[in-house]
C-alpha cells in the first residue's frame, strides 16, 4: 500500500470518528445508544428523532460541508495566485456576502422596507449569496480583461475594501439592535442552518466541488505559472473563469449560510501539502477536502463544548497551524 493510500484511509477514518463524536455531543444529553437507535429506526419517539435528525445531524453535516468547501476553495486560490497566503476570501467573496447581509439587516430598514416585505423572503442567506455572487461576477468579468493574475488579486482586494466601506456606512447609520444582528452573522455560525436550508446549500456546494474536480489538470499546469500553462495548451482565461465560478459556489454559499469562517481555507491546504508532500492536485484536492472536513468537525466540537462562535475557534486552531507551516518552510534544510 502506498503512502498516499495510507494517508487517505487515516484521514477518512478521522473524519468518520469526528463525525460520530460531533453527532453525540449537544445541549440535550442523548447517549450513543439513543442516537444509534434513531439512525437505525428503532427509536420512534418524535422529540428524540427531531433533536437527532433535524438539529444534531444537520449541524454536523453542515460543519463537514463547510470544511470541505473552504479547504478546496483555499487550495484553488493558493494555486491560481501562486501565493501561500491566499484564502477563499481573497477575491472579496466574504465582503460581498457581508455587503448583501448588511443590506438585508441594516440597509432595508433604512430604506423603509418593512420586515415583512418581499425583501424578507429572500432571507439572510439569499442576500449574502447575491452579494458574494455579485462580487465574483464582477471579478470574473474584469479578470478577462486583465492579463496579469496579480492585477486580478489587487482588484479583488479593492472590491473588498469598497464593500467594507459601504458596510461601515450602513453600520454608522443604524441602531444598536440591528448592529448586533449583523455582528452575530459576521462571527459565523453552523447552528442557524435548518434542514430546509441544507437542501439548498448541499447541492450548490456539490456543484462547486464537481467544477473544482474538473479544473484539476488546469490547477496542476498553473503551478508553473500562467505563461507556462499557456505554452502547454491551457486556455488560461477559461480555466480562470471556471476556477472563480467554482470558488463562488463553494465559498459564496458557505459564507452566505454560515457567515465568514476564517483560517480554515488558508490552513487546510497547507496541512495537506505537508502530510502528502506532493503538489499534484489529484492528491491535494481530496486530501484538503478530508482535512477541511475533519478540522471543521473538530472546531464544531470545541465550539459546542464552550458555546463559542465558530469563527473564534477556527482562528484559534488555524493560526498555530499557519505559524507552524511558516516556521517549517523557512527552516534551513
Amino acid at each position: 500500500m502506498g503512502r498516499n493510500a495510507g494517508l487517505f484511509i487515516g484521514l477518512g477514518a478521522a473524519v468518520v470518528a469526528l463525525f460520530a463524536a460531533d453527532l453525540l455531543t449537544g445541549d440535550s444529553a442523548l447517549g450513543a445508544e439513543t442516537v444509534w437507535g434513531v439512525l437505525t429506526g428503532s427509536v420512534t419517539d418524535e422529540t428524540t428523532r427531531a433533536i437527532v435528525l433535524s438539529i444534531r445531524m444537520v449541524r454536523v453535516v453542515v460543519a463537514a460541508t463547510v470544511g470541505v468547501a473552504l479547504a478546496v476553495s483555499g487550495l484553488q486560490m493558493q494555486t491560481v495566485f501562486r501565493n501561500p497566503l491566499a484564502d477563499p476570501y481573497l477575491l472579496g467573496v466574504s465582503s460581498g456576502a457581508g455587503l448583501g447581509v448588511a443590506f438585508f439587516i441594516l440597509g432595508a430598514p433604512l430604506l423603509g422596507w418593512g420586515a415583512y416585505g418581499a425583501w424578507q423572503s429572500v432571507g439572510l442567506a439569499g442576500a449574502g449569496w447575491i452579494g458574494a455572487a455579485g462580487v465574483l461576477v464582477l471579478v470574473a468579468v474584469l479578470s478577462r480583461r486583465v492579463k496579469n493574475i496579480l492585477g486580478v488579486l489587487i482588484m479583488g482586494v479593492m472590491l473588498g475594501y469598497v464593500a467594507g466601506a459601504l458596510i461601515q456606512i450602513m453600520q454608522y447609520l443604524n441602531s444598536a439592535e440591528q448592529l448586533k444582528l449583523y455582528f452575530l452573522w459576521s462571527m459565523g455560525s453552523l447552528g442557524h442552518v435548518t434542514a430546509a436550508k441544507l437542501w439548498v446549500m448541499g447541492p450548490v456546494v456539490g456543484a462547486g466541488l464537481v467544477l473544482a474536480v474538473y479544473t484539476i489538470k488546469a490547477l496542476n499546469l498553473l503551478l508553473l505559472g500562467e505563461n507556462y500553462a499557456r505554452t502547454m495548451g491551457l486556455n488560461v482565461r477559461r480555466a480562470r473563469t471556471q476556477i472563480f465560478v467554482s470558488t463562488a459556489l463553494l465559498t459564496g454559499t458557505v459564507t452566505a449560510f454560515c457567515g465568514p469562517v476564517g483560517f480554515m481555507g488558508l490552513a487546510a491546504p497547507h496541512v495537506a501539502r505537508m502530510l502528502f508532500r506532493e503538489a499534484d492536485h489529484r492528491v491535494l484536492l481530496p486530501g484538503s477536502a478530508l482535512l477541511g472536513a475533519a478540522a471543521m468537525l473538530l472546531c464544531d466540537l470545541v465550539a459546542k463544548a464552550w458555546t463559542l462562535p465558530v469563527n473564534c475557534v477556527t482562528a484559534l486552531l488555524g493560526i498555530p497551524v499557519i505559524i507552524w507551516v511558516i516556521f517549517k518552510n523557512i527552516r534551513p534544510s
Binding site: I216, L223, L224, T231, M232, N235, R273, R277, E278, A279
Partner: protein, 263 residues
Amino acid sequence: MIRLEHVTLGYGRRTLVSDACAEIAEGKLVALLGRNGSGKSTLLRATAGLEKPRGGRVLMEGQDLATLRPEERAKLVSFVTTERVRVPDLKCRDVVALGRAPHTDWTGRLRAEDRERVEEALDLLDLTEYAERTMDRMSDGECQRVMIARAFAQDTPAILLDEPTSFLDLPNRYELGVLLRRLAHEKGKCVLFSTHELDIALTLCDAIALIDPPRLHYLPTQEMIASGHIERLFRNDTVTFDPRTLRVVTRLDISQNHQKHTP
C-alpha cells in the same frame, strides 16, 4: 518546420520588428540575436503563438498558429521562458510530466507511453538521478535543464527558448549550447533560442536570426559573420565585435594593448 511570413510586431505606436521572414527546417539550431529591447522575447512569444503578430503570420508545420486552439498549438511548439519556477513539493519528474499535458486526458493521467516519454526526457537531460528531488533544492543550471526536459517531453517538432543561458556560469552555458545542438541534430527538433552570448551562437548554431530594428536578418552562421551586421550592431563606445575571434572585446583592452606595444 517554423515559417515566419512577413511578421510585424509592436506595442502601441512602437514597431519592434517589421516584415520579418524566416524558415527554420527540422534539425536546425538557430540563435536569435539582438540588442536589449529589440524585441527578441516578443518575436519568440509570437513564434510560440502566445502573442498575435500585428501583421503577417507564423506557420508551424504548415499550420497558421493564429487559427489553432491552445491544445493543438501545444502539440506543435513548446517554450522555455525566462521565468524561474521553484514550486515546493513539486518533484523534477512531476514537472517533466506536466509537459505531457497536451497528450493526456482531462485528469492529466499518464499512460504507459507518456511515462516512457518522461523517462526519455529525464535521461536525455541527465536528470534521472534528480527525478525524485524537488526544484527548490536544485541549482539554476539544473532547474533550467528540468524545464528543457519538460519541453522535450511535450514532444513538439519545435522548441523555443528565451535566453536559456542567462543565470548560468560559463561552463554551464556551453554545456547547454551543446545540449540544444544535440536536440536539433540528433532528435531532429527545430530549436530557436534567444541569447546575448555571441560566441555560443556563432560557434554552435546552424543559422542566426538577427534583429536589426525593425528588420530581421536571417542567414546561415558563416554568412551572417561575413555580412558585417553583427559588427555594426554590437558596438558602442566601450566594446566592439571581433569577427576573427567571434568575441566582443572592450576598446579599453585594445587601447591598453596598443600602449604596451608603442614604447
